[in-house]
């Protein structure tokens, strides 16, 4: 285990005994790009609309990315045959380990979880186990249109939470990470702390887009201006035993909600099933407990490298190296002390 596991405070035990960690499984292979999740999310959370109402220049995506007002975001990626072939190859290489392999090979941890034949992301040369034997080799289509609904990852080790100086961000009893609107002072430290670029400060109102203008018929009552905002996993629904708005509205069950372990399990089964059909482009994202954020609450099935979807291939919680840094700082300090002492003692000897 890497060092940061030794930090107190964010371990799974802290979630509480009565509730299990909740998660999303976003299966992008059956996402139809309807954006109902985006709309349901905004409706439920009363988030203001984003944007200046101009075509963004990114296929059918006009909200661009996750941010203070958009907590579910659907990406659209158009790809030709060559890219699809590459994705099939890279996906096939990943089968087997049940975890991604990050960083230089020598730092990789041995596989400590069950080997379910799940794919991982990472560089070539990864050990292949449980590979589907002689999968069919379907024709590569000439073209594909990837659609994928992104959301806050609710990391096991959440950078935003780690760096929050006010305690506005906290870990809920469901293992999710939530901002408390009334505590956040809008310092913005968390924005830099998120390895996925998810959390963002809501516009303070100093600039107005067309729908925000006070004279507009469409001006909306924007709450909590200037504070950090992100997906709450619909915490207010969750405590009532309800499904988050995005998962509730998703017509194809591309967004599933449930116990995090069950979600990971569903995701693994789905990847295996796809590989058995020869659709080796399928891979898992965020299920590896040994990645740079300790795995995420919102796992994904992707059909290409994470970068294609705007997801970091190797997310690292920024506080990961803190213990190491403190240790080194300690050693350095001790060294300097020693040097100073030596110098001092040496001087005395003179």
């Amino acid at each position: 285990m890497v060092d940061f596991l030794e930090r107190p405070g964010e371990l799974m035990e802290a979630y509480g005994q009565d509730t299990e960690r909740k998660g999303f499984f976003t299966d992008t292979s059956i996402c139809i790009g309807c954006k109902a999740c985006e709309v349901a999310c905004k409706e439920w959370n009363q988030n203001p609309m984003k944007g200046d109402l101009e075509i963004l220049g990114s296929s059918y995506d006009n909200t661009g990315s996750l941010g203070a007002n958009t907590w579910r975001h659907v990406a659209f990626i158009e790809q030709g045959q060559e890219q699809i072939d590459k994705a099939r190859e890279s996906g096939a290489r990943l089968v087997g380990l049940g975890m991604p392999a990050f960083g230089a090979p020598e730092t990789r941890e041995p596989n400590t979880t069950e080997d379910l034949g799940m794919p991982e992301f990472g560089s070539p040369g990864v050990r292949i186990k449980n590979k589907v034997d002689n999968p069919p080799n379907p024709d590569t289509p000439e073209f594909r249109w990837l659609m994928s609904s992104d959301v806050c990852k609710h990391c096991t080790y959440a950078g935003c939470l780690d760096v929050c100086p006010t305690g506005a961000l906290y870990r809920t009893e469901y293992g999710t990470v939530v901002v408390q609107d009334d505590i956040c002072n809008g310092c913005g430290t968390c924005v830099a702390g998120c390895p996925f670029g998810v959390i963002e400060r809501r516009d303070t109102g100093t600039i107005h887009t067309k729908p925000d203008r006070v004279d507009s018929r469409y001006s909306m009552d924007v709450k909590h201006k200037g504070t950090a905002k992100k997906c709450t996993f619909c915490f207010d629904r969750m405590v009532d035993g309800q499904t988050p708005a995005c998962a509730q509205t998703c017509p194809t069950q591309s967004i599933q909600y449930g116990g995090r372990e069950e979600m990971v399990d569903n995701a693994k089964k789905r990847v295996t099933a796809m590989h058995e059909k020869g659709l080796t482009e399928a891979r898992l994202y965020g299920a590896n407990p040994n990645d740079g954020v300790g795995g995420i609450g919102s796992v994904f099935l992707l059909l290409d490298e994470p970068e294609v979807y705007g997801l970091p291939p190797d997310p690292q919680v920024p506080t990961k190296d803190l213990p190491k840094m403190y240790k080194k700082v300690g050693i350095a300090a001790a060294g300097m002390l020693a040097a100073a002492a030596t110098a001092f003692l040496g001087a005395r000897k003179k």
């Binding site: 109902a36 203001p48 220049g57 289509p141 729908p211």
Partner: protein, 857 residues
Amino acid sequence: MAEAHPVGFQWVAEAKARGAKLVHVDPRFTRTSAMADKHVHIRAGTDIALLGGLIRHVIENDMWFKEYVTHYTNAAHLVDEGYQDTEDLDGLFSGFDKDTGGYDNATWQYEKDPYEADGIAKDMTLQHPRSVFQILRRHYSRYTPEMVGNVTGIKTEDFLELAELIGKNSGRERTTVMAYALGWTQHSMGSQFIRTAAILQLLLGNMGRPGGGIMALRGHATIQGSSDIPTLFNLLPGYLPFPVAGKHDTLRDYLDDAVPKDQKGFWSNGDAYMVSLLKAWFGDDATEENDFGYQYLPRLTGAHGTYQTLMRMFDKSVDGYFVLGQNPAVGSANGRMQRLGMSNLKWMVVRDFQLIETATWWKEGPEIATGELKTEDIATEVFFMPAANHTEKAGTFTQTQRLVQWRHQAITPPGDARSELEFFYDLGVRLKEKLKDSTDPRDKPLQAMTWDYPVDEHGEPSAEAVLKEINGYYTTGPNAGKPVDNFNQYKADGSTAGGCWIYAGVYAGGINHAANRVPGKDQDEMAHQWAWAWPANRRILYNRASADLDGNPWSERKKLVWWDEEQEVWTGKDVPDFPIKRPPSTKTAHDTHGPDALAGDDPFIMQSDGKGWLFAPKGMNDGPMPTHFEPAESPVTNPLYPQQESPSRVLITSRGNQLAPAGDQPGAEVFPHVFTTYRLTEHQTAGGMSRFLPYLSELQPEMFVEVSQELAAEAGLEPYGWATIASPRGAIEAKVLVTQRMQPVVAGGKTVHQIGMPFHFGVGNQALVTGDSVNDLLGMTLDPNVYIQSAKAVACTIMPGRRPRGPALVKFVEDLREQAGITVLTGHRRLTFERDAETMEVSDPPTLTDPEPHTGE
């Protein structure tokens, strides 16, 4: 389907998860294509060629379902000796009237055989050259894979893959379903597109069986409902035809012609349906003596579709116009003509949630900008009535499976907004009050009309009371006032009243079955306890066809309804769609009619011969079998027939509705491309329900045009820059999306660039997002059966940059028309060929010079 019906698509996703193959045929690669196992690029408007090719493939490769076709369709019926096919007449059937474009269908009738109980001559071996099967085979004999490719632009290997997939996935063990939407209907031969699919599904044995059929994906909530209880000018509720002036002077005339007693099947009970309807409408005023108030009904004097009505506005013969749940200034074809037409009205009422463009064209429309209209000169008085939305009123939605689903009211409407029910009820109350002392005979129908619904404390009439009336009830006897249980209880003697016979049973036992809500997990897969499907809560129509001749299921896997030998009844998972005690071995007896005449192997109980129609002896105005013609103003010369366009299409000859030259005619090169229109998931039709909502507007904020990389290079279009798109009717601008999802196709020996544009945007100042309306580019060329406009394959040109502003825009379009040599008569020839009487050579007919065009504008 994923694009426009994402919620319904969940079931396709479910089927896919269980191993179903999904093929998507579309000129564009859409969100549906992204989910499909295979996407086939087709040239817009050529689906009859594709489906005809599939019909040929299925027949020639012996993939058709022999027992099913022989016994359950009219394949064995012989057709009149005088019948001539398009193959004989270069694209015409016998009986063509070149002046009207219509047909006399006398030669399409079955040959009579007095020795047959049903009077129809047959050859059960299907070998007779005049049998429907052989006629069908000959009709499509030239629709080879190569020809399909030449017409549709579909690669031969793609066609063969599709053909094999459909063929192998049909038969005893398997069924294939076809789903379509406006991409099939909005053509000058839209009805025939659907007919072609019906023929194919009958040949494959996919009708009346689980997992089969043809599914019409509707354009709005309860569009099915608005055909059942129609907003259509030519139908009464329950698909009873509307009475025609001069033809249906008395009730007897009407019944004898529309629902004759001597025909086979359930339509022969049409007198009971009609009389009950009249009883529901006119109550005690409907008596046997006054033909049950039949004389109160108006009569049709011709076609009164949207576009005919529009043209009458220009003649100043329409005073007022009610616009409900519609936005013709944006949503109807030839938007400019729509707006100019409305400027001729005395008054109009717009009922909507928002000030849609149809309510504001007189001050913010594009013609104000071009100077063609001046607000101060427009005499039209526009009334805007705010409308309640679907959560603010109770009632039903009927969807494509004929499922009638109850909506409960969640909240009361805001401000002055009201439901349609309250609006019309109140209007009726006020009109009746105004006319109560009138002695003018023309006011008699309103005076006689029953109009007594209970209202709640907000003045909202009870939607359940309306549903009960629609269901039907007894008017006399011990059960007076009680709802009927089914339409067999409807009587022609005035003892029952009912607003729509096919809905009889929705309120059986005094219970609102539309509100049934047993979850799927608590019942079997037919889900009879979820809402209510007309007729008789039957989930699959014509389901007798799911069993073989002996009444046994075709296969265990596909069993649905079967004959129970011991109980001597039809039974199964669905409500049997057949006389329940009629054994499968029953033969039609001589001199029987109506339901009694149905033989045990007549599953299509509403047809006058009990069979599925591969060949339609009546009912279609443009031919007994679908035939490929090019869309109006197509850049491709019809590779199949010298007849270029459908000779029966409805033409509206008017300034403002000019058409581009087609094929290789001079001037065709000015409008060389084809555009198709469609909707996006993010918006709803003409935008009244979406462009005013922030969360939807931000998802698709601007009008765009989708072009292929090839066309972008050829026309010099910059990705996400502006382009101007022009047709002979107008010019609009849009942001450019260059995408591999659009592909040029090769057809008729030339490369055809296809352009895609959503039709959600309109010009005005009210909506949060606005833009030019693509429907301003459409012409009005209509299907002769249902008068739908052709919106899916239209000629245009495209160039980089924004369109001209102000009067320069009008000049710009005029110049293009001049360049192409377009007159009001361009593209208006019914017949595009002449045949020399001696040599039989086919040649172009002379250019049109008469008749006088409609003055239009």
